[in-house]
């Protein structure tokens, strides 16, 4: 049977197998633009893939986008599927996307925590962490967004393996985190790192592990504010912009703090919408509107990064 992304239902939640199959179809439909990069395997040995959008060149400056590091935030994986298709279909059509990909590569990781995602489909819809086993504890998993080497083990992360915000035994202990770290370090030319979460409608920049302002705060705040203006223009979804510590709470070991500290200036974290008081159970008919508005914000940040090389 001929495979086509045209028949894919973007307005539905899908299991890991279907998402991975969609990625294969997308790559097959755009062989000159997209490659599937196997960045390693998860704790339970599932492959982890990033889609690399590239028009050529060697080690071009790149933008990283990941979704689903907290597995129960299903609208993020679903939005990332839609966004992958949007980038692919807009290349050669939308001058902005075409120009962006003429200068930079985009890496998009749709399911950053595959074990957790499968677990949310099979055992516990509310699962947020990885599925690694900890010796001496009957509780499994680490919060992968408390496991990065940025103020690791500090305030806003739990040392209790049973907690949903358990930071893990040491920084980068989770193979899912380590795989991303290795790719970012090995590449060495990422200019932006954007992590997509869901809940509360926020666009955040570093820091989370400390409430100290970053040196680039003023620039990142203004980029974030402009990005949210774009996002809001579609459905008037209300967002707040600020540093993690100032607009939510102090949280150590987060990914964008680590990326900022290694020199990736344009580090942001999205918290997508929950306009209907459904939390992680956002109805599937809101996937496309969420993805559409997120894309506008994301595109603004990407364009800004392209226009402001450093």
């Amino acid at each position: 049977m001929e495979r086509s992304t045209k028949s894919f239902n973007f307005a539905a939640y899908h299991d890991l197998e279907t998402i991975y199959s969609f990625m294969d179809t997308l790559v097959a439909s755009h062989p000159n633009l997209i490659t599937k990069v196997h960045i390693g395997n998860s704790y339970e040995n599932r492959p982890m893939y990033a889609l690399k959008f590239s028009t050529g060149g060697v080690n071009r400056p790149a933008i990283w986008v990941d979704a689903g590091i907290h597995s129960r935030e299903w609208v993020t994986q679903a939005s990332a599927v839609w966004i992958a298709n949007k980038i692919a279909s807009n290349y050669g059509v939308d001058p902005s996307v075409t120009s962006l990909l003429g200068q930079m590569d985009i890496y998009l990781m749709i399911v950053t925590n595959p074990d957790g995602y499968v677990f949310t489909h099979t055992n516990n819809r509310m699962w947020r962490k990885t599925r690694s086993v900890k010796s001496g504890s009957s509780c499994r998993g680490v919060d992968p967004n408390r496991n990065w080497d940025a103020g690791f083990g500090g305030p806003g992360a739990s040392k209790d393996p049973c907690s949903d915000s358990y930071h893990g035994p040491y920084a980068h202990s989770e193979v899912e985190v380590k795989n991303v770290v290795d790719l970012i370090m090995g590449h060495g030319n990422f200019k932006s790192f954007i992590s997509v979460h869901s809940y509360s409608q926020l666009l955040m920049y570093p820091y989370g592990y400390t409430c100290t302002d970053i040196p680039d705060m003023s620039e990142l705040h203004s980029v974030g504010t402009a990005a949210i203006k774009e996002l809001t223009s579609l459905y008037n979804t209300r967002y707040q912009v600020g540093s993690i510590c100032k607009i939510i709470y102090q949280a150590s070991g987060g990914s964008i703090d680590w990326t900022y500290d290694i020199g990736i200036k344009y580090s942001f974290a999205f918290e997508l919408r929950d306009t209907g008081f459904y939390g992680f159970l956002l109805p599937a008919n809101q996937i496309i509107p969420t993805a559409e508005e997120t894309w506008l914000g994301l595109k603004y940040i990407m364009e800004y990064v392209r226009n402001h090389p450093y």
Partner: protein, 93 residues
């Protein structure tokens, strides 16, 4: 498969430092199995907590005793999950 029958999501509106202290107490009570959907306590934004059915009355009593305002945002989490599941099955078909 873990079920969430009768679990509710409470939306809590923090208005004072006393409320924050009360919530910190709740957070430390790991035996209640509370699932904080939003993190960090401030008067700026509401806090959403999934409360297992078995802990509901104790948690509500605690909040009332400490005058912490709240409302029930999701009445039965499992109902939403069942709806989500049946939608997925239908979409898969």
């Amino acid at each position: 498969k873990e079920l969430f029958n009768g679990d509710q999501v409470l939306r809590i509106h923090v208005e004072s430092e006393d409320h924050i202290q009360a919530l910190k107490e709740l957070e430390e009570d790991v035996d209640s199995g509370l699932d904080f959907w939003t993190h960090g306590f401030s008067t700026e934004r509401p806090i959403d907590i999934r409360v297992p059915h078995s802990s509901l009355s104790a948690v509500k009593d605690f909040l009332k005793k400490n005058n912490v305002p709240f409302n029930v945002m999701i009445n039965n989490v499992q109902e939403l999950l069942d709806r989500e599941k049946s939608e997925m099955v239908s979409n898969a078909k």
